[in-house]
Symmetry: C2
Subunit: 343 residues, 2 copies
């Protein structure tokens, strides 16, 4: 499934239905967390960046994501991060799907955030603040409306161009949007705060006094070493939920804290092994960095929907001679067809 096929699928099914269904797939995979083989990612570092292969398997399907990270690409007019994913059958070893993973990663990140918030935010949450109006912001807004019914947004970005882009994209989509003049104005009265800024630095987009009782914090932007968004005190005031603790301690907001700072892995909440929100006044924080199982869920979702409706194209990547010993025949078949025929 290339970019067009994924865009087609979203048009056909509807963005919010896709986000809701994908959140369901992620939740299903979180519920059977123990079934997954969590291999270490394979990273090839160079002066300019890194190329990674991130594999996982649930015993039925094997998936991996190819993804790079090249900050220097901006100067070349290229994207910093691109990627694609592959899903294969464990039973046969045959690859079943190759898919773009740029739009798909945006979808799965938003779906995961909303799925987490369904377990962690207050049931009556109706207003979300979004700090950072970059590539992920519209996806977050749609996922939270689709999964939690949140339609009131209070938004802020330091860059007015990003704000204009967001407002243009969201026009006529049925949201009630308040554009704030600062992050502190944006979070006023919000039940959920999503931080999704792009700046690669130790930032304090939110300071402790900005976050009131009962808020759910969906911290998406702090996702690699050296990149954080929250003041450490906020993390200590609430309960922190993570995808996979060893990875989040390196990449997430909690990189600012001591290595044994207590956190709860979200899969334990989703599978009923740990409580989520403990009361209306608690501050809950989802410190999200993105995890291989979410890519797996997203690829599994694309494959199932693709099979239903024939989105995407078939690739002839696997030579399959009628006689497996006659690979050479694949090269000469056309010669034989083209041979002169006696009439």
């Amino acid at each position: 499934m290339d970019v067009d096929a994924v865009v087609n699928l979203v048009e056909r099914i509807g963005l919010e239905t896709v986000l809701t269904e994908m959140a369901g797939y992620v939740e299903e995979d979180y519920q059977r967390w123990g079934a997954f083989e969590k291999s270490p990612r394979l990273a090839s570092h160079s002066a300019d960046g890194v190329i990674e292969l991130m594999p996982t398997s649930d015993g039925e399907a094997f998936a991996f994501k190819y993804v790079n990270g090249h900050p220097t690409n901006v100067a070349l007019g290229l994207q910093t991060v691109v990627g694609f994913g592959v899903l294969a059958s464990v039973r046969t070893g045959y690859p079943e799907l190759i898919a773009e993973m740029t739009i798909t990663t945006a979808l799965r990140t938003a779906a995961t955030s909303a799925m987490a918030a369904r377990h962690l935010a207050r049931d009556d949450a109706a207003t979300m603040a979004i700090i950072g109006l970059g590539a992920q912001s519209e996806f977050q807004a749609h996922a939270f409306r689709a999964v939690l019914g949140v339609r009131r947004l209070r938004v802020y970005d330091v860059d007015p161009a990003a704000t204009r882009k967001f407002i243009t994209n969201m026009q006529g989509r049925g949201f009630e949007i308040f554009v704030a003049a600062s992050a502190s104005e944006a979070v006023m009265g919000a039940d959920i705060i999503t931080t999704v800024t792009a700046d690669k630095a130790q930032n304090h987009i939110l300071s402790d006094n900005m976050v009131g009782a009962g808020v759910h914090l969906n911290a998406v932007g702090g996702d690699c070493p050296g990149k954080t968004e929250l003041q450490a005190d906020i993390l200590r005031r609430g309960e922190v939920f993570v995808e996979f603790a060893p990875q989040t301690r390196i990449e997430g907001e909690i990189q600012q804290l001591e290595p044994d700072f207590p956190v709860t892995e979200l899969w334990r909440v989703v599978s009923g092994q740990a409580p989520g929100r403990r009361g209306a006044d608690q501050i809950t924080i989802f410190d999200s960095v993105g995890f291989a199982i979410e890519d797996f869920s997203a690829l599994r979702y694309l494959r199932d929907r693709m099979l239903e409706a024939g989105d995407g194209a078939r690739l002839n990547l696997l030579a399959s001679p009628e006689d497996p010993r006659d690979l050479f025949g694949l090269l000469t078949a056309r010669e034989r067809l083209a041979a002169p025929v006696a009439v």
Copy 2:
């Protein structure tokens, strides 16, 4: 490049030119062996088989091959091994090529064999025996003619159907072929012996007394634990050359021998750091199991030739919004285009 694109490329350039040029690419990469990052392969094992990702990089290009091994596939009417490869730019992290790796692996295996023989066989070698007439046999024959000028073949397979397939495929291709009634008849008078049987067992296709002085043995078929073709004594009588010793000691013919049996890595010969053949009477053995750098060379070759002539198709796998922050715009672009226009 799918299967058709690779077949087209071979038709356009000519099989023996492709094999010669690919042997050149493999040789070039063997000469700069030290430049390669030799990452361990990543294997995901299951009850039915294994799925592997085999990465390597020379600092300019990053490549990996996806390959499975599922013996149980035969019962399902599927192939035991399928695969595809990816080549990416280390500078930008952008993938540049996704290619089928079934025909391509057959081509690179034959090209590597012939390249090794150019360094290890006698200069006057004119006759090759081929034991095992499965999927790899015709490729070996063409590579040795292209690279070494060998046109006389003495061939044998235990299965008459495999022999018929080989003879049909090779008809009218300018070889002088003698079909032997046994392996020992096939090797009589041969300057080069290629063993390329498929049976997954500890076999002794060749015994010590069948191999005369001065012969070059191209042992291709023994390529995984438990699968060997040669009697151990032959290995002790000659000098054994390997791709990458730690891997060959597990997968190659030398798995039969003590772990410190002396071998020479072929790259040292190719780069002038070790002698190849030491005299007309020496027995040389290339114990070949297939190595990630050969896949790298093959993908690099496909990419270069593809760029020349536009073989293959462009995949739109990397979403590239005009404004990198406006990923959402990719989803809504068509909505905007479809909006009613005032006339």
